[in-house]
């Protein structure tokens, strides 16, 4: 089976067969290593340089793209300004972009 995407192509089955081969080699390596640890001890706690992890110490979803937002703040702020929260605005944008795409397609 080969998927052709106009110019490109790939065969998922060939990749899966290759992946199975690599998994076999990785499994061999894994079987040579130790798989045990001292369960129920401090080993299992997250490493925080000796500090106790405060309850619920996580990076929240809203911070996932912090670097991206910080690096491109002027661009992100401009995008944010578009998000008024009114459905009518979003539909208007959709219609404008669709009209432009159709125009380009027709030309």
């Amino acid at each position: 089976m080969r998927l052709v995407t106009g110019e490109g192509y790939w065969s998922p089955l060939a990749w899966l067969a290759a992946a199975a081969g690599v998994l076999l080699l990785a499994g061999l390596l894994w079987s040579r290593g130790r798989r045990d640890w001292k369960r129920g001890t401090e080993e299992e706690l997250p490493f925080l340089s000796g500090e106790a992890a405060p309850e619920g110490a996580r990076v929240g979803g809203q911070h996932l793209y912090w670097g991206f937002v910080e690096g491109l703040r002027p661009y992100v702020e401009r995008l944010r300004a578009f998000h008024s929260g009114f459905v009518a605005d979003y539909v208007a944008w959709f219609v404008v972009v669709l009209a432009m795409a159709l125009l380009v397609a027709m030309v």
């Binding site: 290759a18 690599v22 490493f47 925080l48």
Partner: protein
């Protein structure tokens, strides 16, 4: 080609690239140490490290999503090793030629980074979560110029009508430098420069080692990995380094040495494979070893700005020059 022959070749490439990747890792560490006036570890140190990791306990943290945490090292290894099967090896075309193109290789090279980020998120460690978040942001930054560099080469090759342009065998068999005019050569040089900047970012090496950043977040997304799982990530990293450098060589320096020297037959093939490995090493040395010795770590927002604005602008300029070259040369 028979199935047995194919399996034998694939196994040889995988094992060989694993060994080459670890040897290059040793060379990288030795040469970096020499540049810093240190003696450095012996060349075989990466092999010793791998063996040592296999003897260590493999801890799964208490708060981790166990199956996801354990599966990600395997996914990283699978993606890194299979990428090699779609790349040409000097005079030899890709093992899986006809089964995957250059775009597939780009995706496969992105998977180990995703696997590390997912593993970091799954570990339940705050430091690893910060590292995972940084890895995702990095991925969003360098993929764009990388894709532009590839598209530039492929687009110009397609205009020359030499075969399926996305095929790495076609790209490798048709070096562009002599097929384009002066504008095209300048455009290709810019794209090569962009790709050399992207290479250490793709490999998370200094100055782009932000997701691991030992001095800030103690190893970041790798902080909870140990023993066999860390060994798999270590091996995947060594192999991905070879794959990334091999991609740069295939796109921009696919020349052999046997034909100009008049060496034919098996001797010529051996010479070309050796020359290919030297080119891969030179790319790694130029883009990874020297850069990591000479530079300090960037901040993640600097990386985003640099890749999205300066490097992407440079890559697009290279692409535009190739388009202009086509218009001039016909």
């Amino acid at each position: 080609m028979s199935g047995v022959h194919l399996v034998w070749q694939a196994a040889a490439v995988m094992v060989g690239s694993g060994v080459v990747g670890l040897v290059y890792k040793g060379l990288d560490r030795k040469l970096a140490a020499r540049m810093q006036a240190r003696v450095g570890p012996p060349l075989r140190q990466p092999f010793l490290d791998l063996g040592k990791l296999l003897m260590k306990e493999t801890v799964v943290p208490r708060d981790a999503v166990g199956w996801l945490f354990s599966a990600m090292p395997f996914l990283a290894a699978v993606a890194s090793f299979t990428a090699l099967l779609y790349l040409p090896w000097g005079p030899f075309p890709p093992i899986l030629r006809g089964y995957g193109d250059a775009v597939l290789v780009l995706y496969l090279l992105a998977v180990p980074a995703l696997a590390m980020a997912l593993g970091g998120f799954a570990s339940g460690s705050p430091l690893a979560t910060v590292g995972g978040q940084r890895e995702i942001v990095m991925l969003m930054s360098y993929e764009f110029p990388l894709a532009v560099a590839l598209v530039g080469v492929v687009w110009r090759l397609r205009a020359l009508e030499v075969g399926p342009a996305f095929s790495l065998a076609t790209i490798s068999a048709n070096p562009l430098w002599t097929a384009v005019g002066p504008l095209g050569v300048f455009g290709l040089a810019i794209l090569l420069g962009c790709l050399l900047v992207v290479t250490p970012a793709e490999l998370s090496k200094i100055p782009f080692d932000i997701p691991e950043a030992e001095t800030e977040i103690a190893g970041g997304l790798m902080v909870e990995y140990s023993g066999t799982y860390l060994a798999l990530f270590y091996l995947a990293d060594a192999v991905k380094t070879v794959a990334m450098a091999a991609l740069v060589v295939t796109l921009f320096i696919p020349y052999g040495i046997a034909a100009p020297l008049g060496v034919k037959g098996v001797g010529g093939q051996v010479l070309d494979v050796a020359f290919f490995l030297v080119k891969v090493f030179v790319v790694m040395f130029a883009a990874v070893t020297t850069v990591r010795v000479a530079m300090a770590r960037f901040k993640v927002d600097q990386v985003v700005r640099g890749f999205w604005l300066q490097i992407t602008a440079a890559a697009v300029a290279g692409l535009v020059l190739l388009v202009l070259d086509k218009a001039v040369m016909g």
